[in-house]
Protein backbone atom coordinates (compact mmCIF):
# COMPACT_ATOMS: atom_id res chain seq x y z
CA UNK A 1 0.00 0.00 0.00
CA UNK A 2 1.41 3.42 -0.95
CA UNK A 3 2.16 5.72 1.97
CA UNK A 4 0.46 9.17 1.86
CA UNK A 5 2.06 11.66 4.25
CA UNK A 6 -0.04 14.62 5.40
CA UNK A 7 0.48 17.72 3.22
CA UNK A 8 0.10 20.51 5.73
CA UNK A 9 -0.34 23.35 3.21
CA UNK A 10 -0.57 27.05 4.04
CA UNK A 11 -3.43 27.86 1.64
CA UNK A 12 -6.55 25.69 1.26
CA UNK A 13 -6.93 23.45 -1.78
CA UNK A 14 -10.42 24.33 -3.01
CA UNK A 15 -10.25 22.18 -6.16
CA UNK A 16 -11.37 25.08 -8.33
CA UNK A 17 -10.62 23.17 -11.53
CA UNK A 18 -13.61 20.99 -10.65
CA UNK A 19 -15.66 23.33 -8.45
CA UNK A 20 -15.39 26.76 -10.06
CA UNK A 21 -18.61 27.90 -8.27
CA UNK A 22 -19.25 30.29 -11.15
CA UNK A 23 -20.56 27.22 -13.00
CA UNK A 24 -22.09 23.96 -11.81
CA UNK A 25 -19.34 21.54 -10.79
CA UNK A 26 -17.49 20.11 -13.75
CA UNK A 27 -17.31 16.46 -14.70
CA UNK A 28 -13.85 15.42 -15.79
CA UNK A 29 -13.29 12.02 -17.29
CA UNK A 30 -9.86 10.53 -16.79
CA UNK A 31 -9.92 7.29 -18.79
CA UNK A 32 -11.95 5.36 -21.33
CA UNK A 33 -14.80 3.11 -20.23
CA UNK A 34 -14.46 -0.56 -21.02
CA UNK A 35 -17.34 -3.01 -21.10
CA UNK A 36 -17.70 -6.58 -22.21
CA UNK A 37 -20.30 -6.90 -24.96
CA UNK A 38 -20.86 -10.29 -26.56
CA UNK A 39 -17.55 -11.53 -25.24
CA UNK A 40 -15.55 -8.59 -26.65
CA UNK A 41 -14.02 -5.70 -24.73
CA UNK A 42 -15.58 -2.53 -26.12
CA UNK A 43 -14.06 0.85 -25.37
CA UNK A 44 -16.21 3.97 -24.97
CA UNK A 45 -14.51 7.35 -24.81
CA UNK A 46 -16.55 9.62 -22.54
CA UNK A 47 -14.41 12.64 -23.43
CA UNK A 48 -16.06 12.61 -26.86
CA UNK A 49 -19.02 14.27 -25.18
CA UNK A 50 -16.96 17.48 -25.18
CA UNK A 51 -16.92 17.53 -28.96
CA UNK A 52 -20.27 15.99 -29.81
CA UNK A 53 -23.39 18.08 -30.29
CA UNK A 54 -25.20 16.78 -27.21
CA UNK A 55 -28.48 18.59 -26.69
CA UNK A 56 -31.94 18.34 -25.17
CA UNK A 57 -35.28 17.71 -26.80
CA UNK A 58 -38.52 18.47 -25.06
CA UNK A 59 -41.69 16.50 -24.48
CA UNK A 60 -43.34 18.82 -21.92
CA UNK A 61 -46.34 19.32 -24.18
CA UNK A 62 -46.66 15.62 -24.97
CA UNK A 63 -45.49 13.17 -22.28
CA UNK A 64 -45.60 16.01 -19.78
CA UNK A 65 -49.13 16.93 -20.72
CA UNK A 66 -50.34 13.31 -20.64
CA UNK A 67 -49.60 13.29 -16.93
CA UNK A 68 -51.42 16.39 -15.79
CA UNK A 69 -54.44 18.58 -16.59
CA UNK A 70 -54.16 20.16 -20.03
CA UNK A 71 -52.34 23.45 -20.42
CA UNK A 72 -54.14 26.45 -21.84
CA UNK A 73 -52.93 27.60 -25.22
CA UNK A 74 -51.51 30.83 -23.80
CA UNK A 75 -49.63 28.88 -21.14
CA UNK A 76 -48.03 26.63 -23.74
CA UNK A 77 -46.99 29.60 -25.84
CA UNK A 78 -45.42 31.26 -22.80
CA UNK A 79 -43.63 28.05 -21.74
CA UNK A 80 -42.39 27.53 -25.31
CA UNK A 81 -40.96 31.05 -25.36
CA UNK A 82 -39.24 30.54 -21.99
CA UNK A 83 -37.78 27.21 -23.14
CA UNK A 84 -36.32 29.00 -26.12
CA UNK A 85 -34.60 31.50 -23.83
CA UNK A 86 -33.42 28.76 -21.50
CA UNK A 87 -31.79 26.81 -24.31
CA UNK A 88 -30.19 29.93 -25.73
CA UNK A 89 -29.30 30.89 -29.30
CA UNK A 90 -27.30 27.70 -29.88
CA UNK A 91 -30.39 25.56 -29.42
CA UNK A 92 -29.32 23.47 -26.48
CA UNK A 93 -33.06 22.80 -26.17
CA UNK A 94 -33.23 21.77 -29.78
CA UNK A 95 -36.75 20.45 -30.43
CA UNK A 96 -40.14 20.00 -28.88
CA UNK A 97 -43.08 17.83 -29.86
CA UNK A 98 -46.80 18.45 -30.00
CA UNK A 99 -49.91 16.32 -30.13
CA UNK A 100 -51.84 16.98 -33.33
CA UNK A 101 -55.19 15.40 -32.65
CA UNK A 102 -57.44 18.24 -31.57
CA UNK A 103 -58.01 21.64 -33.09
CA UNK A 104 -56.65 23.10 -29.87
CA UNK A 105 -53.46 21.07 -30.31
CA UNK A 106 -53.02 22.39 -33.82
CA UNK A 107 -53.93 25.98 -32.95
CA UNK A 108 -51.40 25.93 -30.12
CA UNK A 109 -48.70 24.59 -32.40
CA UNK A 110 -49.42 27.38 -34.87
CA UNK A 111 -49.31 30.00 -32.09
CA UNK A 112 -45.88 28.75 -31.03
CA UNK A 113 -44.69 28.57 -34.61
CA UNK A 114 -45.88 32.13 -35.21
CA UNK A 115 -43.42 33.40 -32.58
CA UNK A 116 -40.80 32.76 -35.25
CA UNK A 117 -38.27 31.30 -32.84
CA UNK A 118 -35.56 29.11 -34.28
CA UNK A 119 -35.40 26.86 -31.23
CA UNK A 120 -36.88 24.67 -30.05
CA UNK A 121 -37.84 23.34 -33.49
CA UNK A 122 -41.44 22.21 -33.60
CA UNK A 123 -42.14 18.57 -34.38
CA UNK A 124 -45.16 16.32 -34.09
CA UNK A 125 -46.00 13.17 -32.23
CA UNK A 126 -48.35 10.56 -33.63
CA UNK A 127 -49.15 6.91 -33.33
CA UNK A 128 -47.60 4.92 -36.13
CA UNK A 129 -50.72 4.95 -38.25
CA UNK A 130 -51.44 6.37 -41.66
CA UNK A 131 -54.55 8.07 -40.33
CA UNK A 132 -52.49 9.99 -37.79
CA UNK A 133 -49.84 10.87 -40.32
CA UNK A 134 -52.42 12.96 -42.17
CA UNK A 135 -52.22 15.54 -39.37
CA UNK A 136 -48.45 15.84 -39.76
CA UNK A 137 -48.84 16.58 -43.44
CA UNK A 138 -51.64 19.08 -42.88
CA UNK A 139 -49.58 20.92 -40.30
CA UNK A 140 -46.64 21.06 -42.73
CA UNK A 141 -44.20 19.76 -40.18
CA UNK A 142 -40.66 18.82 -41.16
CA UNK A 143 -40.30 16.02 -38.62
CA UNK A 144 -42.56 13.82 -36.57
CA UNK A 145 -42.16 11.28 -33.84
CA UNK A 146 -44.18 8.13 -34.23
CA UNK A 147 -44.91 5.50 -31.62
CA UNK A 148 -43.32 2.28 -32.80
CA UNK A 149 -43.74 0.07 -29.75
CA UNK A 150 -41.16 -2.69 -29.82
CA UNK A 151 -41.64 -5.07 -26.90
CA UNK A 152 -43.84 -8.14 -27.16
CA UNK A 153 -45.84 -6.75 -24.23
CA UNK A 154 -47.01 -4.05 -26.62
CA UNK A 155 -47.00 -5.88 -29.96
CA UNK A 156 -48.80 -9.02 -28.76
CA UNK A 157 -50.83 -7.87 -25.79
CA UNK A 158 -51.69 -4.25 -26.55
CA UNK A 159 -51.72 -4.17 -30.32
CA UNK A 160 -52.77 -7.83 -30.78
CA UNK A 161 -50.34 -8.17 -33.67
CA UNK A 162 -47.55 -10.42 -34.77
CA UNK A 163 -44.09 -8.93 -35.00
CA UNK A 164 -44.31 -8.92 -38.79
CA UNK A 165 -47.63 -7.10 -38.73
CA UNK A 166 -46.26 -4.48 -36.32
CA UNK A 167 -43.14 -3.91 -38.39
CA UNK A 168 -45.11 -3.63 -41.60
CA UNK A 169 -47.46 -1.09 -40.06
CA UNK A 170 -44.59 1.02 -38.77
CA UNK A 171 -42.68 0.82 -42.05
CA UNK A 172 -45.74 1.94 -43.99
CA UNK A 173 -45.88 5.20 -42.02
CA UNK A 174 -42.13 5.73 -42.26
CA UNK A 175 -42.23 5.29 -46.03
CA UNK A 176 -45.16 7.69 -46.28
CA UNK A 177 -43.28 10.25 -44.25
CA UNK A 178 -40.24 9.97 -46.51
CA UNK A 179 -42.38 10.23 -49.64
CA UNK A 180 -43.71 13.52 -48.26
CA UNK A 181 -40.28 14.88 -47.35
CA UNK A 182 -40.96 14.59 -43.63
CA UNK A 183 -38.32 13.18 -41.32
CA UNK A 184 -39.53 10.17 -39.34
CA UNK A 185 -38.48 9.73 -35.73
CA UNK A 186 -39.29 6.22 -34.54
CA UNK A 187 -40.00 5.94 -30.84
CA UNK A 188 -39.03 2.43 -29.77
CA UNK A 189 -41.50 2.18 -26.91
CA UNK A 190 -40.55 -0.21 -24.09
CA UNK A 191 -37.14 -0.95 -25.63
CA UNK A 192 -35.64 -1.81 -22.23
CA UNK A 193 -38.03 -4.77 -22.11
CA UNK A 194 -37.82 -5.84 -25.73
CA UNK A 195 -36.29 -8.73 -27.63
CA UNK A 196 -33.28 -7.07 -29.23
CA UNK A 197 -32.24 -9.78 -31.65
CA UNK A 198 -35.80 -10.90 -32.43
CA UNK A 199 -37.40 -7.54 -33.19
CA UNK A 200 -35.57 -4.35 -32.30
CA UNK A 201 -32.38 -4.87 -34.31
CA UNK A 202 -34.20 -6.27 -37.38
CA UNK A 203 -36.64 -3.34 -37.29
CA UNK A 204 -33.96 -0.66 -36.93
CA UNK A 205 -31.83 -2.31 -39.63
CA UNK A 206 -34.83 -2.17 -41.94
CA UNK A 207 -35.31 1.50 -41.10
CA UNK A 208 -31.67 2.17 -41.89
CA UNK A 209 -31.94 0.45 -45.26
CA UNK A 210 -35.00 2.58 -46.04
CA UNK A 211 -33.24 5.82 -45.31
CA UNK A 212 -29.62 5.13 -46.23
CA UNK A 213 -29.95 6.98 -49.53
CA UNK A 214 -31.97 9.84 -48.11
CA UNK A 215 -30.37 13.25 -47.53
CA UNK A 216 -29.19 13.87 -43.98
CA UNK A 217 -32.20 15.94 -42.97
CA UNK A 218 -34.53 13.02 -43.77
CA UNK A 219 -32.58 10.11 -42.32
CA UNK A 220 -34.61 8.29 -39.72
CA UNK A 221 -34.07 9.15 -36.10
CA UNK A 222 -34.38 6.56 -33.34
CA UNK A 223 -35.69 7.39 -29.89
CA UNK A 224 -34.91 4.72 -27.31
CA UNK A 225 -37.87 4.81 -24.95
CA UNK A 226 -37.30 3.45 -21.47
CA UNK A 227 -41.04 3.45 -20.97
CA UNK A 228 -41.11 1.74 -17.56
CA UNK A 229 -37.87 3.11 -16.15
CA UNK A 230 -36.16 -0.29 -16.40
CA UNK A 231 -32.98 1.05 -17.94
CA UNK A 232 -29.72 0.56 -16.03
CA UNK A 233 -26.61 2.67 -16.31
CA UNK A 234 -24.19 0.30 -14.54
CA UNK A 235 -21.49 -1.35 -16.61
CA UNK A 236 -21.82 -4.93 -17.77
CA UNK A 237 -25.53 -5.33 -17.19
CA UNK A 238 -27.42 -7.68 -19.50
CA UNK A 239 -29.66 -6.46 -22.29
CA UNK A 240 -32.29 -5.26 -22.67
CA UNK A 241 -31.84 -3.14 -19.54
CA UNK A 242 -28.28 -2.04 -20.21
CA UNK A 243 -28.23 1.48 -21.57
CA UNK A 244 -24.60 1.29 -22.78
CA UNK A 245 -25.27 -1.96 -24.67
CA UNK A 246 -28.50 -0.65 -26.20
CA UNK A 247 -26.65 2.34 -27.61
CA UNK A 248 -23.73 0.22 -28.78
CA UNK A 249 -26.02 -2.17 -30.65
CA UNK A 250 -27.86 0.70 -32.33
CA UNK A 251 -24.59 2.08 -33.60
CA UNK A 252 -22.63 -1.05 -34.37
CA UNK A 253 -25.34 -3.45 -35.52
CA UNK A 254 -27.67 -0.93 -37.11
CA UNK A 255 -25.41 1.90 -38.16
CA UNK A 256 -27.40 4.65 -36.44
CA UNK A 257 -25.17 7.65 -35.79
CA UNK A 258 -25.11 9.58 -32.51
CA UNK A 259 -26.87 12.58 -34.04
CA UNK A 260 -29.87 10.40 -34.90
CA UNK A 261 -30.21 8.77 -31.49
CA UNK A 262 -32.37 10.04 -28.66
CA UNK A 263 -33.00 8.82 -25.11
CA UNK A 264 -36.40 9.03 -23.43
CA UNK A 265 -36.65 7.84 -19.83
CA UNK A 266 -39.02 7.42 -16.91
CA UNK A 267 -38.44 7.61 -13.21
CA UNK A 268 -40.14 4.56 -11.81
CA UNK A 269 -36.91 3.45 -10.11
CA UNK A 270 -35.49 6.91 -9.32
CA UNK A 271 -32.93 6.52 -12.11
CA UNK A 272 -34.32 8.94 -14.67
CA UNK A 273 -31.69 11.69 -14.58
CA UNK A 274 -28.63 9.46 -14.38
CA UNK A 275 -29.97 7.18 -17.11
CA UNK A 276 -30.38 10.20 -19.38
CA UNK A 277 -26.91 11.55 -18.80
CA UNK A 278 -25.49 8.03 -19.15
CA UNK A 279 -27.07 7.91 -22.60
CA UNK A 280 -25.20 11.11 -23.49
CA UNK A 281 -21.91 9.71 -22.27
CA UNK A 282 -22.28 6.42 -24.11
CA UNK A 283 -23.01 8.04 -27.45
CA UNK A 284 -26.52 9.46 -27.83
CA UNK A 285 -26.72 13.14 -28.76
CA UNK A 286 -30.31 13.93 -27.77
CA UNK A 287 -31.77 13.63 -24.28
CA UNK A 288 -35.55 13.92 -24.23
CA UNK A 289 -36.83 15.74 -21.14
CA UNK A 290 -39.78 17.53 -19.59
CA UNK A 291 -39.93 20.59 -17.39
CA UNK A 292 -39.56 19.56 -13.75
CA UNK A 293 -39.85 15.95 -14.78
CA UNK A 294 -43.64 16.10 -15.06
CA UNK A 295 -44.66 13.14 -17.18
CA UNK A 296 -46.32 9.77 -17.26
CA UNK A 297 -46.50 8.14 -13.81
CA UNK A 298 -43.24 9.05 -12.05
CA UNK A 299 -42.17 11.37 -14.83
CA UNK A 300 -39.36 11.97 -17.31
CA UNK A 301 -35.81 13.35 -17.16
CA UNK A 302 -36.17 16.83 -15.67
CA UNK A 303 -35.11 19.39 -18.24
CA UNK A 304 -33.55 21.70 -15.70
CA UNK A 305 -31.29 18.87 -14.50
CA UNK A 306 -30.39 18.01 -18.07
CA UNK A 307 -29.40 21.62 -18.79
CA UNK A 308 -27.21 21.78 -15.69
CA UNK A 309 -25.67 18.39 -16.51
CA UNK A 310 -24.94 19.75 -19.99
CA UNK A 311 -22.98 22.64 -18.52
CA UNK A 312 -21.13 20.31 -16.13
CA UNK A 313 -20.11 18.02 -18.99
CA UNK A 314 -19.22 20.76 -21.47
CA UNK A 315 -17.64 23.10 -18.94
CA UNK A 316 -19.42 26.00 -20.58
CA UNK A 317 -22.85 27.62 -20.60
CA UNK A 318 -22.84 27.79 -24.40
CA UNK A 319 -25.57 30.39 -24.37
CA UNK A 320 -28.00 28.77 -21.94
CA UNK A 321 -29.65 31.12 -19.46
CA UNK A 322 -30.07 29.13 -16.27
CA UNK A 323 -32.06 31.90 -14.58
CA UNK A 324 -34.99 30.96 -16.84
CA UNK A 325 -35.21 27.73 -14.85
CA UNK A 326 -36.28 29.82 -11.86
CA UNK A 327 -38.63 31.86 -14.03
CA UNK A 328 -40.26 28.70 -15.33
CA UNK A 329 -40.65 27.24 -11.83
CA UNK A 330 -42.31 30.43 -10.61
CA UNK A 331 -44.59 30.43 -13.66
CA UNK A 332 -45.54 26.83 -13.07
CA UNK A 333 -46.38 27.43 -9.42
CA UNK A 334 -48.12 30.79 -9.74
CA UNK A 335 -49.81 30.64 -13.15
CA UNK A 336 -50.31 26.95 -13.75
CA UNK A 337 -50.81 25.95 -10.10
CA UNK A 338 -48.40 23.04 -10.28
CA UNK A 339 -46.97 21.71 -7.06
CA UNK A 340 -43.19 21.45 -7.10
CA UNK A 341 -41.95 19.68 -3.95
CA UNK A 342 -40.10 22.10 -1.69
CA UNK A 343 -36.93 19.97 -1.68
CA UNK A 344 -36.84 19.44 -5.46
CA UNK A 345 -33.32 20.09 -6.82
CA UNK A 346 -32.65 23.46 -8.43
CA UNK A 347 -36.24 24.71 -8.27
CA UNK A 348 -37.93 23.64 -5.03
CA UNK A 349 -38.66 26.44 -2.57
CA UNK A 350 -36.11 24.98 -0.15
CA UNK A 351 -33.59 23.41 -2.54
CA UNK A 352 -30.87 25.67 -1.12
CA UNK A 353 -32.40 26.43 2.24
CA UNK A 354 -30.74 25.19 5.38
CA UNK A 355 -32.37 24.72 8.74
CA UNK A 356 -29.21 23.49 10.46
CA UNK A 357 -27.24 25.93 12.58
CA UNK A 358 -23.96 24.33 11.66
CA UNK A 359 -24.70 24.77 7.95
CA UNK A 360 -25.84 28.35 8.50
CA UNK A 361 -22.57 28.95 10.32
CA UNK A 362 -20.65 27.66 7.35
CA UNK A 363 -22.69 29.74 4.89
CA UNK A 364 -22.04 32.88 6.92
CA UNK A 365 -18.31 32.33 6.69
CA UNK A 366 -18.14 31.26 3.09
CA UNK A 367 -21.23 30.67 0.98
CA UNK A 368 -19.37 28.09 -1.07
CA UNK A 369 -19.17 25.75 1.91
CA UNK A 370 -22.81 24.78 1.76
CA UNK A 371 -24.11 26.07 -1.57
CA UNK A 372 -23.76 23.81 -4.59
CA UNK A 373 -22.68 26.55 -7.01
CA UNK A 374 -23.35 30.27 -7.36
CA UNK A 375 -27.11 29.85 -7.36
CA UNK A 376 -27.54 33.61 -6.92
CA UNK A 377 -25.74 34.45 -10.15
CA UNK A 378 -26.86 31.44 -12.19
CA UNK A 379 -30.39 30.74 -10.94
CA UNK A 380 -31.27 34.03 -9.24
CA UNK A 381 -31.71 32.01 -6.04
CA UNK A 382 -29.49 33.05 -3.13
CA UNK A 383 -29.04 30.43 -0.38
CA UNK A 384 -31.50 30.83 2.46
CA UNK A 385 -32.00 29.73 6.02
CA UNK A 386 -35.26 28.65 7.64
CA UNK A 387 -35.57 28.86 11.41
CA UNK A 388 -36.35 26.01 13.75
CA UNK A 389 -34.93 24.92 17.09
CA UNK A 390 -31.97 23.45 15.16
CA UNK A 391 -30.95 26.64 13.35
CA UNK A 392 -28.82 28.09 16.12
CA UNK A 393 -27.72 31.67 16.44
CA UNK A 394 -25.83 31.33 13.15
CA UNK A 395 -29.12 30.55 11.43
CA UNK A 396 -30.84 33.50 13.04
CA UNK A 397 -27.93 35.82 12.17
CA UNK A 398 -28.01 34.66 8.56
CA UNK A 399 -31.78 35.15 8.32
CA UNK A 400 -31.66 38.61 9.89
CA UNK A 401 -28.73 39.81 7.76
CA UNK A 402 -30.34 38.47 4.57
CA UNK A 403 -33.61 40.20 5.46
CA UNK A 404 -31.92 43.51 6.26
CA UNK A 405 -29.67 43.24 3.21
CA UNK A 406 -26.55 43.61 5.34
CA UNK A 407 -23.30 42.31 3.90
CA UNK A 408 -19.63 42.26 4.79
CA UNK A 409 -18.62 44.27 7.81
CA UNK A 410 -22.15 45.74 8.17
CA UNK A 411 -23.57 42.36 9.13
CA UNK A 412 -24.93 41.86 12.62
CA UNK A 413 -22.98 39.37 14.72
CA UNK A 414 -24.46 36.42 16.59
CA UNK A 415 -24.16 38.48 19.77
CA UNK A 416 -26.41 41.17 18.34
CA UNK A 417 -29.16 38.68 17.43
CA UNK A 418 -28.88 36.56 20.59
CA UNK A 419 -32.17 37.97 21.92
CA UNK A 420 -34.01 36.77 18.82
CA UNK A 421 -32.41 33.34 19.12
CA UNK A 422 -33.49 33.22 22.78
CA UNK A 423 -37.05 33.99 21.68
CA UNK A 424 -36.83 31.18 19.08
CA UNK A 425 -35.61 28.64 21.64
CA UNK A 426 -38.26 29.69 24.14
CA UNK A 427 -40.92 28.85 21.52
CA UNK A 428 -39.73 25.25 21.53
CA UNK A 429 -38.39 24.72 25.04
CA UNK A 430 -40.97 26.66 27.01
CA UNK A 431 -44.01 26.78 24.71
CA UNK A 432 -43.61 23.25 23.34
CA UNK A 433 -43.77 24.37 19.71
CA UNK A 434 -43.41 21.78 16.95
CA UNK A 435 -43.61 23.95 13.83
CA UNK A 436 -41.00 26.05 12.02
CA UNK A 437 -40.76 29.76 12.73
CA UNK A 438 -42.35 31.62 9.84
CA UNK A 439 -40.71 34.44 7.93
CA UNK A 440 -43.46 36.73 9.21
CA UNK A 441 -42.63 35.92 12.81
CA UNK A 442 -38.94 36.51 12.19
CA UNK A 443 -39.75 39.82 10.57
CA UNK A 444 -41.71 40.83 13.68
CA UNK A 445 -38.69 40.01 15.84
CA UNK A 446 -36.42 42.09 13.62
CA UNK A 447 -38.87 45.00 13.82
CA UNK A 448 -38.89 44.69 17.60
CA UNK A 449 -35.14 44.45 18.20
CA UNK A 450 -33.78 46.51 15.29
CA UNK A 451 -36.45 49.15 14.63
CA UNK A 452 -34.14 51.57 12.82
CA UNK A 453 -32.69 48.97 10.49
CA UNK A 454 -36.15 47.53 9.90
CA UNK A 455 -37.54 50.95 8.99
CA UNK A 456 -34.80 51.37 6.33
CA UNK A 457 -35.75 48.07 4.69
CA UNK A 458 -39.44 48.86 4.70
CA UNK A 459 -39.05 52.32 3.16
Amino acid sequence: MKEYPLQDIAEPNLLKDIFPYSLPPLIKFEAPIKEMIDGKEIVFDPTEVLNRDIHITDTTFRDGQQARPPYEKEQMVKIYEMMSRLGGPNGIIRQTEFFLYTQNDRDTLDACRNLGLRYPEITGWIRASIADFRFVKEMQLKETGMLTSCSDYHIFHKQKQTRQQAMDQYIEVVETALENGIRPRCHLEDVTRADMDGFVIPFVQRLERLTENQPDHLKVKIRLCDTMGYGISYPNVALPRSIPKLIYRMKEDCGVSADRLEWHGHNDFHKVHINGSTAWIYGIDALNATLFGFGERTGNPPMESAVIEYVSLKGDLNGVDLSVITELAQYYEKEIGANIPTNYPFVGKDFNTTRAGIHAGGLRRDEEIYNIFDTTALLNRPPKVAITDKSGTDGVAMWVNNFLGLTGKDQLTVMKVAKIQRWVMDQYEKEGRLTSISDKEMEEQVAKHFPDLYAKVKK
Partner: protein, 81 residues
Protein backbone atom coordinates in the same frame (compact mmCIF):
# COMPACT_ATOMS: atom_id res chain seq x y z
CA UNK B 1 -8.52 49.83 33.11
CA UNK B 2 -6.54 47.66 35.50
CA UNK B 3 -6.74 43.89 35.21
CA UNK B 4 -8.23 43.60 38.70
CA UNK B 5 -11.16 45.81 37.76
CA UNK B 6 -11.70 43.95 34.53
CA UNK B 7 -11.62 40.65 36.42
CA UNK B 8 -14.21 41.87 38.89
CA UNK B 9 -16.55 42.96 36.10
CA UNK B 10 -16.05 39.78 34.05
CA UNK B 11 -16.84 37.65 37.10
CA UNK B 12 -19.86 39.82 37.99
CA UNK B 13 -21.34 39.50 34.46
CA UNK B 14 -20.54 35.78 34.32
CA UNK B 15 -22.21 35.16 37.67
CA UNK B 16 -25.32 37.09 36.63
CA UNK B 17 -25.67 35.45 33.24
CA UNK B 18 -24.86 31.91 34.35
CA UNK B 19 -26.68 32.21 37.69
CA UNK B 20 -23.64 31.47 39.86
CA UNK B 21 -22.29 33.28 42.89
CA UNK B 22 -19.14 35.30 42.11
CA UNK B 23 -17.25 33.46 44.84
CA UNK B 24 -17.71 30.15 42.97
CA UNK B 25 -16.02 31.40 39.84
CA UNK B 26 -12.29 30.79 39.28
CA UNK B 27 -10.14 32.11 36.44
CA UNK B 28 -9.41 28.54 35.32
CA UNK B 29 -13.12 27.74 34.92
CA UNK B 30 -14.23 26.98 31.39
CA UNK B 31 -17.51 28.70 30.47
CA UNK B 32 -18.85 25.67 28.62
CA UNK B 33 -17.72 23.05 31.11
CA UNK B 34 -17.24 23.98 34.75
CA UNK B 35 -19.73 26.87 34.41
CA UNK B 36 -22.21 24.93 32.22
CA UNK B 37 -22.87 27.51 29.50
CA UNK B 38 -24.51 26.00 26.40
CA UNK B 39 -24.03 27.42 22.90
CA UNK B 40 -26.70 30.13 23.17
CA UNK B 41 -25.77 31.02 26.72
CA UNK B 42 -22.13 31.48 25.64
CA UNK B 43 -23.24 33.94 22.97
CA UNK B 44 -25.55 35.75 25.39
CA UNK B 45 -22.61 35.99 27.80
CA UNK B 46 -20.43 37.61 25.12
CA UNK B 47 -23.32 39.97 24.30
CA UNK B 48 -23.48 40.87 28.00
CA UNK B 49 -19.72 41.55 27.99
CA UNK B 50 -20.19 43.85 24.97
CA UNK B 51 -22.78 45.80 26.92
CA UNK B 52 -20.70 45.85 30.09
CA UNK B 53 -17.60 47.19 28.37
CA UNK B 54 -19.38 49.13 25.60
CA UNK B 55 -17.57 47.27 22.87
CA UNK B 56 -18.50 45.75 19.50
CA UNK B 57 -16.52 42.54 19.46
CA UNK B 58 -15.22 40.47 16.56
CA UNK B 59 -17.45 37.41 16.64
CA UNK B 60 -14.82 34.82 15.80
CA UNK B 61 -12.23 36.23 18.23
CA UNK B 62 -14.70 36.64 21.09
CA UNK B 63 -16.16 33.16 20.76
CA UNK B 64 -12.72 31.55 20.84
CA UNK B 65 -12.29 32.60 24.48
CA UNK B 66 -12.76 29.51 26.61
CA UNK B 67 -12.00 30.40 30.25
CA UNK B 68 -12.74 33.19 32.69
CA UNK B 69 -9.05 34.03 32.87
CA UNK B 70 -8.61 34.24 29.11
CA UNK B 71 -11.70 36.45 28.95
CA UNK B 72 -10.12 38.81 31.43
CA UNK B 73 -6.92 38.88 29.37
CA UNK B 74 -8.95 39.36 26.18
CA UNK B 75 -10.63 42.48 27.51
CA UNK B 76 -7.43 43.69 29.09
CA UNK B 77 -5.98 43.70 25.59
CA UNK B 78 -8.89 45.72 24.20
CA UNK B 79 -9.57 48.28 26.88
CA UNK B 80 -7.32 51.29 27.47
CA UNK B 81 -5.37 51.19 30.74
Amino acid sequence: MKREEIAERVIKVTARELKKSPEEIKESDRFSYELGADSLKSIELVAAFEEEFDLDLDEDEALKVQTVGSAIDFFAGLLPE
